[in-house]
Amino acid sequence: MADGNSYTERIVITGVGLTSPNGNSLSEFRQNLLSGKSGVVPYQTRYMGDVLAGVCNFDTLKYQKRKDLRRGTRVGSVSVYCANEAIIDAGLDWPNVEKDRVGVYLGITEHGNVETENEVYEISQFDYDTSVWTHHHNPRTVANNAAGEVTINLGITGPHLTIGAACAAGNAGFIQAAQMLRLREVDIAIAGGVSESIHTFGIFASFQSQGALARHEDPTKASRPFDKDRNGIVVAEGGGICTVERLDDALARGAKIYGEIIGYAMNSDAKDFVLPDSNRQEQCIRLALKRAGVTPDDIDIVSSHATATEQGDIEESRALRNVFGDCENVAINNTKSFIGHAMGAAGALELLGNIPSFEDNTVHATINLDNIDPECALDQLVVNHPLKKPNIQYILNNSFGMLGINSVVIVKKYTE
């Protein structure tokens, strides 16, 4: 170990709620990650027709009425479901929680495209008469929509933010939570990342124009990070939300502790709109390690960001090789190979799907890795089948995004 954690106050995850294309709870998600079950399916999107996507099938009426769904957005619905699940899982005495001491911090890749596309289509049916443009457009498209819908649903009167951080957003939500808890702005943070991206045709069309939209005759094999035969991203929706608390508060109420957020970092490439930069990714990883007070050798699992784009996978592989090249302890996996790229939810789901490793001492695999790209060759990749690994203590979660935004979170198995 390096010379100790640089933070004075310990921050822990105490409840988990999620929906992913292959599971609507942590246990279901985990089981499918271990059994190699993909969540990618054929999907129809406006104007483009047949594409592939990661689609969630959570019960939208579990915590909302039909009118709530009609009033709000898909990402609001995802967020409300996950936040409620997390609060229940955390065992919080919710009616007696001081709601003005709860903050909601949700990472998101983009927002407003779904509603805007829907409305442009709608007025096109009326010869572009803007008088039929819905009055719901503004409240649905404001950038705080996802987190705001959670506060309305749960009566939370503390601060709420939706954090725009491209595909680094899931980690950014957890980081914001840790910071706000340490600043004592809140006592409980509802934090993570969410995505409704499959409901906008624009994201599919843009990736296609970029030559980065995955196609495969078998949808379950379409998302192929690190594989030489990869041909792009599978867009997915989803959400991963946790209750995050200061350790002392969690212990005082006898909470189950999933893990401790011991380090994190964010930085910027300052270089390109879309192309990643392994140098900055490496810096981000090393900064998170330093702040956590651990060395690369301490890390048991690296949850990679790789999206199955050629340049993205190569750049991250280079960064990982530079940091973990001679580390025999580490195992590297990838969740997008199962569910596609859940955009704002990706970082959160990818971390949460690995958290049960602290209990089952198993590393879920990277699936669809049949012919590894030599430029992505990493000895530590867990290929196609889970790996049993004793005494898993540390998970490092990478999430990177467009405009050169990088985020890394390190979670440790809780020990006194």
Binding site: K65, R66, K67, R70, R71, F126, S131, V132, T134, H135, H136
Partner: protein, 83 residues
């Protein structure tokens, strides 16, 4: 459209914008808002749906006519007679 047909149009719109409500016992003489959860955004949905369905523009100063089912049907009958 006849008043009865207009009433059904309004019922269909209410069913769409307030899908959790039971409209079978709606009292046509009582304000909608006393019988179901309707806020100002929902009310605008009624106006919007009529605009989309029948291209009828209801000015804001006439909104008070849409308080009850009876007043709504009375207001709309001459405006939708050819619809």
């Amino acid at each position: 459209m006849s008043p009865a047909e207009i009433r059904q149009v309004i019922i269909d719109i209410l069913a769409k914008i307030a899908p959790d409500e039971d409209l079978s016992n709606l009292d046509d003489e009582k304000p909608f808002r006393e019988q179901m959860e309707l806020d100002s955004m929902d009310f605008l949905d009624i106006v919007m749906e009529l605009r989309k369905l029948y291209r009828i523009q209801i000015p804001e100063e006439d909104y008070h006519n849409l308080v009850t089912m009876d007043s709504t049907v009375t207001y709309l009958t001459p405006r939708l007679k050819d619809a």
